[in-house]
């Protein structure tokens, strides 16, 4: 049973579709990077996977069970606004979240909090910095001993040290328990080391879905004379052009023609290429 399957899922807010006709499958044990421009529908998608946003069309299922209206017991979710009880202390919060779960490990929470420098267990959650709050929220998510971890921008308000700590904790979780992770982030440099699967969404639709190595291998960046683009074969994703030179991102490219230089893109240039293409389309 796959941790997450989306079947033609869509969500409309008033007149605007945030997510449209998305279908994909997340294989077990993968660490998935959910990327896309601001407003692409990443948060809506994760919210629907967590069962707190109701799809307008289609549906998602976690481990074979539809997610609408209910969070699957094996799924943990970290929302973008972190939703913690600010009037409780960290210790009380741990107790509170624990009492709301059938399967729960306070030890795991303490272990995670222990690995993070500078979390005072008796401090009120509301007095913590945004970064520390995010880390506390991740500890709560791991306390549920999930098999699928959904993280919405887990790194956005962490400083570099905390990002490193947090990624290490998540990766250890993957190593120890084989947890599947789906995380959205704008920090491509941080994602490159930790993710092995990419889901690129834009304008509410899935644009790229697959194993990162395979996806990268399927694409080429070609640099060559602007006058000679006709000799290039393959699906053009996006291009930047100067008077003399063209830099093209291609999918399923034919062998590099003479006079052109071809390289495999890295994750960052791949994503940037797709984002650029989407911006061009929108103009």
């Amino acid at each position: 049973m796959n941790p997450l399957t989306a079947t033609a899922v869509g969500k409309r807010y008033r007149s605007r579709w945030a997510v449209r006709d998305c279908s994909f499958t997340i294989p077990e044990g993968k660490v998935v990077a959910l990327v896309g421009p601001n407003g692409a529908g990443k948060s809506t998608l994760l919210g629907m996977a967590a069962g707190i946003v109701r799809p307008t069309t289609g549906g998602l299922s976690a481990f074979g069970t539809p997610t609408a209206g209910r969070t699957h017991p094996d799924v943990s979710y970290l929302g973008q606004n972190r939703s913690l009880y600010h009037d409780l202390t960290v210790r009380e919060l741990t107790r509170a979240v624990g009492s709301m779960n059938d399967r729960w490990s306070t030890d795991r929470v303490h272990e995670v909090l222990g690995l993070l420098t500078g979390v005072d267990h008796d401090a009120k959650v509301g007095t913590l910095s945004a970064g520390t709050r995010t880390q506390v929220a991740i500890a709560m998510a791991l306390g549920r001993l999930p098999r699928l971890l959904l993280l919405d921008e887990p790194l956005s308000d962490l400083d570099p040290l905390a990002r490193d700590e947090t990624l290490r904790i998540i990766m250890t979780e993957v190593a120890d328990r084989g947890t599947t992770v789906v995380m959205s982030s704008h920090l491509l440099t941080d994602l490159r080391e930790v993710c092995d699967h990419i889901l690129l969404v834009d304008e509410g639709r899935v644009q790229v879905d697959g194993d990162i190595e395979e996806v990268l291998a399927r694409h080429r960046i070609l640099v060559g004379p602007a006058a000679d683009e006709s000799s290039v074969e393959g699906t053009l994703v996006s291009a930047t052009r100067t008077a003399r030179q063209s830099t093209l991102l291609l999918r399923e490219a034919a062998p590099t023609p003479k006079g052109w230089e071809g390289t495999e893109p890295d994750l960052e240039s791949l994503v940037m290429g797709y984002l650029r293409a989407s911006r061009e389309r929108r103009r």
Binding site: G51, I52, V53, G69, R70, G79, S83, M100, N101, R144
Partner: protein
């Protein structure tokens, strides 16, 4: 889960407890001071029955002047407590969570939404009701000490007395609380939920003001014209009164008005015989009063409470439904 709700709602619960302690203290002090005043002025008799002397006695007048406002304030506290509970406990209960997004934390744990809702409801509602009932009892205890020298003299059906007795305050509280909770879930805004609760509660209390009189079976008292029915003098709730024709049917008010107008001329301050005879001639020989005796006030309370209670249950079911839909 109960612990979570308790911990999160602790400030409100502490406020409630403080209200109870302060309220109880005030009532006990006031009551004992009032009791002193009654005994020192030798008014003990007047508490149990109304006599000529009690209504003219100067010290009785002084007593009323000194205490009636305080006693009415005590009543007002119990009248307003339900809507205050609805405003400050019911309305923010879910609205604040939805506003701040903290509901997501609970919704993404393994506890079901219904259980989460119920635990929050129980923790918020039960202490509120306990405090309400306790304060209601205390105020009642104080009012009965004043007996017929206090507001109780107007009987159980008097609006303020009715509103603070028996199960009515509990039913009003349930209703106000449920409106607050429901509107809070639907609008996701605390302030909106509070305003709507205040409006809905006030409107409904006025709208349903006489519904009891229509629902309950009434008794009819018939007297000959010239006398007035006892029901309109004692504490019974008179629903309608007027004149009966020969067939025993109530006569339409405009017809009565015309006849009375016609007989007015025969009326003299010295004797009413001619006036009464005139009325009899115009087929207004008997007067009637439909009423609910004070002894049946408890039935009226039950009818009242069941209306508000049923509305409250509907609203709470709606709240549960809306929360499950909420996404």
């Amino acid at each position: 889960m109960i612990w979570v709700s308790w911990r999160r709602q602790r400030p409100q619960l502490i406020t409630l407890l403080a209200m109870l302690v302060v309220g109880a203290g005030v009532v006990v002090l006031l009551r004992s001071s009032m009791l002193d005043s009654i005994t020192s002025s030798g008014l003990t008799e007047c508490v149990t029955r109304t006599t000529q002397e009690c209504s003219t006695n100067k010290s009785a007048g002084d007593f009323r002047a000194e205490w009636s406002t305080r006693l009415q304030l005590g009543q007002a506290a119990i009248i307003f407590l339900p809507v205050l509970i609805g405003l400050f406990i019911g309305a923010p209960l879910f609205a604040r969570e939805l506003e701040q997004g903290t509901h997501v934390l609970a919704f993404t744990q393994s506890v079901s939404r219904t259980r989460w809702m119920l635990s929050k409801l129980v923790v918020a509602l039960v202490p509120a009701l306990v405090v309400l009932i306790a304060l209601q009892y205390l105020v009642w205890w104080w009012l009965t000490t004043a007996g017929v020298m206090g507001p109780r003299v107007n009987g159980s059906f008097q609006v303020f007395n009715f509103g603070i007795e028996h199960v009515s305050p509990v039913a009003y509280t349930l209703f106000a609380f449920a409106v607050g909770a429901f509107v809070g879930v639907v609008t996701r805004r605390t302030l909106v939920a509070m305003i709507v609760t205040l409006g809905a509660f006030t409107v409904l209390r006025f709208a349903l003001f006489d519904v009891v009189t229509r629902v309950m079976t009434t008794q009819r008292e018939v007297v000959t014209s010239g006398l007035s029915p006892t029901a309109s003098r004692d504490a019974s709730l008179v629903i309608s009164q007027g004149y009966l024709d020969a067939a025993g049917q109530p006569i339409a008010p405009d017809k009565v008005g015309a006849a009375v107008q016609a007989c007015k001329a025969t009326w003299t301050p010295e004797g009413q015989q001619e006036y009464v005879a005139c009325l009899a001639k115009s087929d207004l020989g008997r007067r009637y009063a439909d009423f609910i005796p004070e002894s049946q006030a408890w039935q009226a309370h039950l009818v009242d409470a069941s209306i508000y209670g049923a509305l409250a249950v509907l609203l709470l079911v709606g709240t549960g439904w809306a929360l499950r839909r909420q996404s």
